[in-house]
């Protein structure tokens, strides 16, 4: 129930349960249930949550999609998905059996009012049969063009009433991309807000559900020693890398429209940047954290036209080699225009106009077909003000704190150490913390955390409307400048061979500042 439950419904046995973050009974409706995301991520996450006893015993999932199939076929398909992709494998027959009994499917079109009337009737029937209180989460795992029609249909069918005390909750999770530029994001926010209160909207960015991204907040704000040096007095620059080895993987049509700036930077990397750079929130709760992230996004300095080509580098991959296998260039991929000008790599030099970060460049890069899949933040500290060790100073490097988001989640601090022996030789060494070896358990999947948070009504790790618009405001300027360059015939899109770290221009951007990219 939204807000406090009235006295008659309050459950005294929930007091003091250590599992205090326990969601109320609910039904989750997944639009696009026959799609890849539901099979690979959503149902495996819900199964793992059930396995870990983090979902209420009265919980149902209703898949909704255009594809015709019955409940049993849907259950079978989802079971195969869980067997292949769930974190907790092999699938436990008893857990699955209980979980699958409350899995249902319904066919329908996303803009058909009759289909939504049938959906409402089916949900009411499920509530009656399973003794559910009418709480619902709607997951929009569908193409972006369907977001507004689905939400409109939910409103028309009275499936998404605005929150009120004592009333069952209705929440909507919206997948990325949320708009393709500032105008479309604003338009979508307007359409969504016609039906829903902002508190009902959960814009998902699965990066925020990753354990290391959350640990970034703990690392910064639960330890006394890092925050005092987390500023321009001690930090030389910050590098954020989000690289992939894969190409477009059959999504050439989508990627042609998106490009890496929309696909990775506008959402994932700017979210990571805002968490790394934000001020301490007044409390660890949704709006406290999101207010501070928003300030960072609003403080991103607009890149001056005169510096644009020095601060924004894009590229496109050519044929090359990944993991010992020859791979084609981007323009030879299925669904890609042979004369495509879509960027598959981008490197950016960004400044944040704030007291804390004045003069500290943030270098972001993201690309496809790079040598390895990695997402990391590297905080590069300033050198010691006076080097005592003369000619051996060559081997002294700046301290680097690297926060690995994926894979091998963890944190490493590089520093110089004296090599054993009579000579005063200095060597860089690394002090590492890895989740895998320190805690011995695999961190939960990002979707597990995020689905659970939505059921609990905790929006901290979801993106708010103003955050989305602020990041699009900044990114859309780059797109506009690229459009102007294309129109004036001044477009620069250097190629890089698949399996390299991007075009030479990206290295030159760093070299011009006397720096170099890390090899993560």
């Amino acid at each position: 129930m939204e807000n406090a439950a009235p006295g008659a419904l309050a459950n005294p046995l929930r007091q003091g349960l250590v599992e205090e973050r326990f969601p109320e009974p609910a039904t989750m409706v997944i639009f696009g249930a026959s799609g890849d995301l539901a099979r690979r991520k959503l149902l495996p996450a819900l199964y793992s949550l059930t396995r870990d006893r983090l979902l209420p015993s009265r919980f149902a999932v209703l898949g909704f999609g255009r594809h015709a199939q019955d409940d049993d076929a849907f259950r079978e398909e989802m079971r195969r998905g869980c067997e292949e992709f769930a974190r907790r494998r092999p699938v436990d027959a008893a857990v699955w059996s209980a979980f699958a009994r409350n899995l249902f499917y319904q066919q329908g079109a996303y803009d058909d009012p009759a289909a939504f009337a049938r959906l409402k009737a089916r949900l009411d029937e499920i509530d009656r049969t399973l003794g559910l209180p009418g709480n619902r989460v709607f997951y929009l795992s569908t193409p972006p063009s369907t977001f507004a029609p689905i939400i409109r249909s939910l409103g028309q069918a009275q499936l998404a009433p605005r929150p009120a005390p004592g009333r069952p909750f209705a929440r909507v999770i919206i997948e990325k991309p949320f708009g393709v530029d500032l105008e479309t994001a604003r338009a979508l926010n307007r359409q969504v807000h016609e039906i829903l209160d902002e508190r009902q909207i959960y814009r998902i960015d699965h990066y925020l559900g990753k354990e290391t991204v959350q640990n970034l907040l703990v690392f910064r704000f639960a330890n006394g020693i890092f925050e005092p040096i987390w500023n321009n007095h001690f930090i030389d620059h910050v590098q954020i890398t989000g690289s992939e080895t894969v190409g477009v993987e059959g999504r050439g049509g989508y990627f042609e429209q998106a490009g890496i700036l929309r696909d990775m930077v506008q959402n994932h990397l700017l979210q990571v940047l805002s968490l790394a750079a934000m001020e301490p929130p007044i409390a660890f709760e949704a709006d406290g954290v999101r207010d501070e992230k928003l300030k960072v996004l609003k403080a991103l300095r607009q890149i001056p036209a005169a510096d644009f080509d020095r601060q924004v580098i894009r590229g496109q991959y050519a044929a090359g080699s990944i993991a010992g296998r020859a791979v084609p260039g981007y323009r030879a991929e299925a669904g890609v225009d042979p004369r495509s000008t879509t960027e598959t790599f981008v490197a950016l030099k960004i400044f944040i106009d704030s007291w804390r970060w004045a003069g500290v460049p943030f270098y972001l890069r993201s690309g496809k077909r790079l040598p390895k899949r990695v997402t990391e933040i590297a905080i590069v500290f300033k050198e010691a003000p006076h080097l005592l060790f003369g000619k051996r100073a060559d081997s002294i490097r700046p301290n680097v704190l690297s926060i690995r988001i994926q894979p091998d989640e963890g944190i490493a601090l590089n520093f110089g150490s004296k090599l054993p022996g009579p000579a005063m030789e200095v060597a860089p060494v690394s002090m590492e913390f890895r989740y895998g070896s320190s805690f011995g358990v695999e961190p939960p999947e990002a979707y597990e955390r995020l689905l659970l948070d939505c059921l609990l009504g905790d929006g901290t790790l979801f993106t708010r409307a103003d955050e989305v618009e602020a990041s699009w405001t900044w990114v859309s300027r780059i797109h506009r400048r690229w459009a102007e360059q294309t129109a004036s015939g001044d477009m620069r899109l250097p190629e890089y061979a698949a399996g390299t770290w991007g075009p030479d221009e990206a290295e030159r951007m760093m070299a011009a500042d006397g720096r170099s990219w890390r090899l993560p």
Partner: protein, 396 residues
């Protein structure tokens, strides 16, 4: 055998996780030496494996210049002290620590009083606990230290524990063997313990609850975790879930009768479960009496509500170590029932919905210890429930 050969043989046994006898005063030095050898071997092995996989000269995520010096990092989240008695107890303790390590790396310090040991001296063994994760690559390295001595040797254990604690790491004491001298815990171990873990399932008689309550009171303000209490978690969660909306808490406030069915011998668990309900529902215990079936009946009063009768009903049915077979709560109109239908399964019956079968967790002792070392081991409700349960027993 030369010193070098002996060292190599020791390292090979250490790498296989076999215990190595060491001088009591040399434990840290021996461990340090063996881990250094492990680092050298690991660096060589890791280098070869990664080079063949990556086809390049650097390790992923590690600057190439550090490759040659890759160290094996020992992981320690807790010092875990486990007093036990006899060789069989020691073997059981070591198996438990082996099972805990993959989830919570610990430096395990087993303190064993061995009635069969001769002489007066302490003896010591060390062994490694190296855990390869199924996903490959990630490895947890931790260690176990076993100290053995004849009865009376417990006077040395406190000093040994203080010397062997990894600095800056919290210490938990797993007090599972009621035959160990209580002075060891009270005088030597409690002062260095940050979390005390007990197991009410080891209470052979419910009157032992009184002793545990006294122990818990002495340990305060340290968190006390009880594996027996944690075993009740899945039943408590399931029963609590019955009263989530739309049922709500009204039936609990109207309740007039409660029955807890339990496996005979599991009185302590049954008492803890009644104590949990009594505490949260504000029931004041008035009296207790035996019942013809060998169980107990308790009468409660509560402010502004009808009196409540609670029955503990023993049974010979099969059950897991939680010993709970079912809970029935009646409010004069309806019944709310959770009944175990198999060791790991229960049926939930509420008036508003058809019966539903759900899975019950059947956690091993190692899994419970892992939970006890985490946030679930800091349950502020527990000490109050333990005191309430002890009070219930004293009414009898």
């Amino acid at each position: 055998m030369s010193d070098a050969e002996r060292a190599r043989a020791n390292f090979e046994r250490f790498a296989r996780g076999e215990p190595i006898a060491v001088e009591v005063g040399e434990i840290e030095r021996e461990l340090s030496s063996l881990w250094q050898q492990a680092s050298r071997v690991s660096a060589a092995r890791l280098g070869r494996a990664e080079l063949s996989r990556e086809g390049s000269g650097t390790l992923p995520g590690v600057p190439s210049e550090t490759t040659a010096g890759s160290a094996v990092s020992r992981a320690v989240l807790w010092n875990l002290v486990v007093p036990t008695r006899g060789r069989a107890g020691l073997e059981k303790t070591k198996a438990l620590c082996d099972a805990i390590a993959p989830a919570v790396p610990v430096r395990a310090i087993a303190l064993c009083l061995d009635d069969a040991a001769g002489g007066q001296e302490l003896s010591a063994t060390i062994d490694s606990n190296v855990v390869s994760q199924p996903s490959g690559g990630r490895v947890v390295y931790c260690e176990e230290i076993s100290l053995m001595g004849p009865p009376g040797a417990e006077t040395h254990f406190g000093a040994m524990v203080r010397a062997l604690q990894v600095p800056g790491v919290r210490t938990a004491t797993l007090w599972m063997d009621p035959t160990m001298p209580s002075a060891l815990l009270a005088r030597e171990l409690l002062p260095v313990t940050r979390r005390l873990i007990i197991d009410t399932a080891s209470c052979a008689r419910p009157m032992d609850l009184r002793d545990l309550e006294a122990l818990a009171a002495r340990a305060l303000p340290r968190p006390i975790a009880d594996l027996g209490w944690l075993r009740l978690s899945s039943f408590r969660l399931l029963f609590a879930g019955v009263f989530d909306p739309p049922v709500g808490g009204a039936p609990l406030r109207r309740a007039s009768r409660l029955a807890v069915r339990y496996r005979a011998g599991g009185d302590a668990s049954a008492l803890l479960l009644v104590a949990w309900l009594g505490l949260l529902l504000d029931w004041k215990p008035l009296r207790a009496a035996g019942t013809p079936d060998g169980g107990l009946r308790f009468d409660f009063e509560r402010p502004g509500g009808p009196p409540v009768q609670a029955f503990l009903v023993p049974s010979a049915a099969a059950c897991d170590r939680s010993a709970i077979l079912g809970i029935e709560l009646a409010d004069g109109r309806d019944e709310y029932v959770v009944t175990r239908t198999a060791v790991d399964e229960a049926e939930v019956r509420v008036p508003i919905a058809p019966p539903k079968t759900v899975k019950l967790d059947a956690a091993s002792d190692a899994e419970l210890c892992v939970a006890a070392l985490g946030p679930r081991g800091r349950d502020p409700l527990y000490a109050r429930c333990l005191a309430y349960a002890a009070q219930l027993w004293s009414l009898r």
